[in-house]
């Protein structure tokens, strides 16, 4: 039953198309792409639902409910992310890549992989707040408008990655 997945797109073509999507985003809305913002909206909405008192008393959440219409989910980045999910599912499904799986290096167990994935997510979630955006929102969109922040964040992310890669090699490679 398992179909052989189709090969991935030529990376340069994918990059070019991604560039056009980014350009379209700037042309239509004046701002770039983003992904971590949706996670933030979900957190804020959840906290606001569970404990409105906590949200009101806490500046990180309160500022969100005070400005805007107090509806963190009716947000540009949330709708963008819904589109991302739709587009990615369509692509994965059509290319025979949809299905439960865990991608990992050859030397670690599934459980270990999931633990590290969770840790990585936590770090990325925090880092994206400091960086005022993640790889797409701060680095990629920032580079497209040639902002200093975009290039700084990009270099910090990948620079750190290269520096520490050696120490975490067991997660990903045989060496």
């Amino acid at each position: 039953m398992e179909q052989k997945p189709k090969p991935y797109m030529n990376p340069y073509l994918a990059g070019f198309l991604l560039g056009l999507v980014l350009l379209a985003a700037f042309f239509i809305t004046g701002r770039g792409l983003g992904a971590s913002g949706a996670a933030k909206s979900v957190v804020i909405e959840t906290i606001g639902r569970i404990s409105p008192e906590y949200a009101d008393s806490h500046p990180f959440y309160a500022s969100f409910f005070a400005t805007g219409d107090g509806r963190p989910m009716k947000n540009w980045l949330v709708y963008l992310t819904m589109g991302v999910l739709g587009g990615a599912f369509f692509s994965g499904f059509m290319s025979g890549r949809a299905g439960f799986a865990i991608d990992k290096g050859p030397r670690i167990s599934n459980v270990k992989r999931l633990i590290f994935a969770g840790l990585g997510g936590i770090l990325f979630g925090m880092g994206a707040q400091f960086g005022r955006g993640c790889t797409s929102g701060a680095a990629l969109s920032g580079m497209a408008v040639l902002s200093t922040a975009g290039f700084l964040t990009m270099m910090a992310i990948f620079g750190t990655g290269f520096v520490i890669a050696y120490f975490f090699r067991k997660l990903w490679i045989n060496a």
């Binding site: 797109m9 701002r31 963008l80 991302v84 979630g125 975009g150």
Partner: protein, 408 residues
Amino acid sequence: MGPLIPQGFVNPDLNLFFAFVIGLGFGYVLEQGGFSNSRKLAGVFYGYDFVVLRVFFTAAITAAIGLLLFSYMGWVSYDLLYVNPTFLWSALVGGVIMGFGFILGGFCPGTSMVAAVIGKIDAMVFVLGLMIGVFIFGSFYEDFLPLYTGENLGSIFIFDTLGMSRDWFVFLLVLVALAAFIVTRKIEDKVNGLESKSGLFAPLYVGPVLIMLAAAIVVLWLPESPRAKWFEADAETVLHEAAEGKQFVQTEELAYKLLNPKENDYMLVDVRGDEAFAEFTLPGAVHIPADKVLDLGYNKLLSESKKPVLFFGFSDTDASQAWMSLRRAGLEDVFVLKGGLNQFFETIFFSENQVNTYQEMPVFEARFIERAREAFQSGEAAEKINVKAKPVTTIVEMEAPPAGQGGC
């Protein structure tokens, strides 16, 4: 004309719809590019797969050059684009933390969502982690504030930071990217134990390489955009012109042009308030309050007008102020109706004086005024002038992104 939504060309309510459509493209391309596989993503750090670098660099360069060309063509106004502000330490610290997150987790937020939706369990856990991370940041928000909001350098550009011209920077960026593509290809082949054969010059790569180089060279050697030539007229010149009364158009001239619409080459601009405009105005006039002529949308309308712009108000005070602003902003063909509507009506409708006032005037002008008076008073003019006045479509000002809040 662009960006469309901040300038009010598109209903802001459609904003979210566009977000969804753009997201569809974003998600599709990321998944097709192989970003739904954490092993492929992490490959960039270990040299066995550089897909991240290829896609990322190509996309950034495509969009950057695209924006420059769009702005050159006048399709997009660079001033209205959101340029993420540089909070120096926060950006660096955030980047370092994200670097750790990338190595440990094998994803970044966008790619984790792409992977999670097609069933990658590691990605689902990563997404959960993301939210926990945001929550932790929120919990210690006040402690992080000094770092988070410190050393704000504003919305600065990398080429300014490096002290070079924008176009040269983009050109160098393309060269760096091409060099990176060649080197990483070699590294990748070596790490994977493949014989490095044609490398960069395989047919697959010649196309993109040539396109990128060509685009970079085009950017570099484009003649200066006519739009870049708007300059401010210096104050002295403008004051001099004002003193000479060069800006004034006389009542008679306007009356003549109104009666001969074919010869009316003015774009009439009513600078009075909303109520006054609603009550009455000159035929064909558009409405732009005097204090708004420099607002981006209106200013664009005025500066792109092919006709000379003629401002009028009740008197010529407000119109002169509007004229002064635009002249200072470098616009050439701008004029003011001398004496404003009051003098216009005084001369054409109400004046009882006959010959006396005209003594110094050339005879034909006196005759014209008399004819114009007849035409306007008898209603004959009303038949001739059937152009409706139109208020300028309201221009929506760009919502400034709340300070200090991330876009991603």
